[in-house]
């Protein structure tokens, strides 16, 4: 139906032109006092030409229309005016492709560079850590903590880059949740001991089918947040209620107006202390990974009371 309307629209200028031609002829017949039958003869003689012109116009119109539908911008098989437009379209398309390829190349170069850079920076970090280990002074615990902060920011950056190729990077296996949490806690030992924190890992001995390395990133980030935003002498609890893994702390909490925004990249809550290192990437990454692993995530918090992060484990948990 729409095609019919379009076809009619295309024919209108030609029909109008033809009618004007007839009118002009009629006017001259009148002017020169010729027989009126001449007009009729004129129409009888010229109408096939008119129809032919309209048909040619329709054909041209629908031919170019089809070419554009198939993104065929070759100019060899069209009329002159159409050639102009098609040529412009072709060069625009080329430009867009070039820009896109450039973007992809830049992105790949950047990924490669970041990977290389991270390997490089691990070297001075390792040196620092070993030197600090060697030198048993009271102040070096603070330095050790700083080394740990650098290391975790580094890992966060690399994770952020790596999420882009998530789907080709996933291997499922039975992961022991309790052991995984213990492992993460030991990684975060220095930060936690510094604040004299207690952690209760009340998880039962169950396994969950998921990708181990991505889950580890989620758990470690959530535990790191719990430690970061705990007060001195605070307590962190890890437990499993029905199919929900809960990580809770009794620290500074999150303001109500910040809660809806916490998963946004770069978002840092108002309740973050000035001297705490926050990049705003941690929860963004956690959320991205949870979505891809099909784990529901939900955060409850009361300012100055504490925060609980709930991970809904959809797959079956197997008791060991």
């Amino acid at each position: 139906m729409d095609k019919l309307i379009e076809a009619v629209k295309v024919s209108i200028p030609y029909i109008i032109t033809y009618l004007v031609l007839i009118l002009v002829f009629a006017f001259f017949v009148y002017l020169y006092n010729l027989k009126l039958a001449l007009i009729l003869a004129f129409i009888q003689f010229t109408w096939p030409f008119g129809v032919a012109i309209v048909l040619i116009a329709e054909y041209r119109y629908f031919y170019v229309r089809k070419k554009l539908q198939h993104h065929d911008y070759r100019q060899s098989d069209v009329f002159m005016y159409d050639q102009l437009y098609l040529k412009e379209l072709q060069s625009l398309k080329q430009k867009v492709n070039d820009e896109r390829n450039q973007e992809l190349l830049t992105q790949k170069e950047r990924e490669d560079y970041i990977r290389l850079w991270s390997h490089e920076i691990k070297t001075p970090l390792t040196r620092m850590k070993l030197m600090l280990d060697d030198d048993h002074q009271n102040s070096n615990n603070k330095l050790q903590k700083q080394v740990k902060i650098i290391q975790s920011q580094l890992d966060l950056l690399l994770t952020y880059e790596r999420i882009k190729s998530f789907n080709s990077d996933i291997h499922f296996k039975e992961v022991n949740l309790r052991e995984e949490c213990n492992h993460c806690l030991k990684n975060l030992m220095e930060m936690a001991i510094d604040k004299n924190l207690i952690v209760q890992n009340n998880l039962p001995n169950v396994t969950y089918l998921t990708d181990e390395k991505w889950l580890k990133i989620v758990i470690e980030q959530l535990l790191m947040n719990a430690i970061k935003y705990s007060n001195d002498n605070g307590q962190i609890k890890i437990e499993l209620q029905k199919n929900v893994l809960k990580i809770s702390d009794n620290g500074i909490g999150i303001y109500a107006e910040d809660l809806p925004e916490i998963f946004k990249a770069g978002y840092i809550g108002k309740n973050t202390r000035q001297n705490e290192n926050a990049s705003g990437l941690g929860l963004y990454i956690v959320n991205q990974i949870c979505q891809k692993l099909n784990i529901g995530i939900n955060v409850q918090s009361v300012e100055n009371h504490g925060t609980t992060v709930n991970l809904s484990l959809v797959s079956k948990l197997i008791q060991k």
Binding site: L130, K186, N196
Partner: protein, 221 residues
């Protein structure tokens, strides 16, 4: 002396590792000719090898294969990032264990001791001054009397026994407890120390755990 071969190209890191290994009474050496690693390994005949993933020629994975052709000595692999599964790849290539950079020397030493089966922590019984601690059953025995300890108390006593008559800082206790999945803080440590003291007093009148103000705790006779 146990021989350890360190395959690492960063001089500062190599220096630190060898220095610490020597302190722990190992005979530690590093690569002098990167073109002939295999020859050096077969000449030195190490009891254990540590190897970094990034090396000047080829990478750690390649060298693991090469070295496995001439020795079965345990290999500890130093990886850059756990998310790359380098460690798992290393195990598949023939390494025995891996550790992620940056790492604490204590951790490396512990792994070395474990692989060489000389870890005192893996031995189940430690005896100091007539007191015998069994870390499997968590019991401590003195002159034919035994008493049961909680896992936390047993670990605390183990730490004291590992450096008898030396001061051990609170931080060291807490760190060691955390490494054994006891995620406690100072207050709980103090509570456990006093409970431990009470239990020990059932075995012997003399006080054995002394508080050194500002420094930590010490086992005395």
């Amino acid at each position: 002396m146990t021989k350890i071969f360190v395959i690492e190209d960063d001089k500062a890191i190599t220096g630190e590792i060898i220095q610490t290994l020597n302190k722990w009474n190992y005979n530690a050496k590093t690569v002098s000719d990167w073109q002939n690693i295999q020859t050096e390994v077969s000449k030195f005949q190490p009891d254990l090898i540590t190897m970094d993933i990034s090396l000047p020629t080829f990478d750690g994975f390649y060298w693991i294969e090469q070295i496995r052709q001439i020795t079965n000595a345990p290999i500890i692999f130093l990886t850059a990032q756990s998310i790359n599964n380098d460690g798992v790849r290393a195990l598949a290539a023939g390494a025995n264990d891996f550790i992620e950079k940056p790492f604490a020397m204590d951790y490396l030493i512990a792994k070395i001791q474990l692989l060489l089966k000389e870890n005192p922590a893996s031995s189940t019984s430690i005896t100091v001054d007539d007191f015998q601690l069994n870390s499997l059953t968590n019991t401590v025995k003195h002159k034919d009397t035994s008493i049961r300890l909680t896992p936390t108390e047993a670990i605390i006593l183990k730490i004291l026994f590992r450096s008898p008559h030396e001061v051990v800082s609170k931080k060291k206790f807490i760190k060691f407890l955390w490494e054994n999945d006891q995620f406690i803080n100072e207050n709980i440590l103090e509570v456990n120390i006093s409970r431990l003291r009470q239990k020990l007093s059932q075995l012997d009148d003399r006080k054995h755990i002394m508080t050194i103000r500002g420094k930590g705790y010490q086992w005395i006779n």
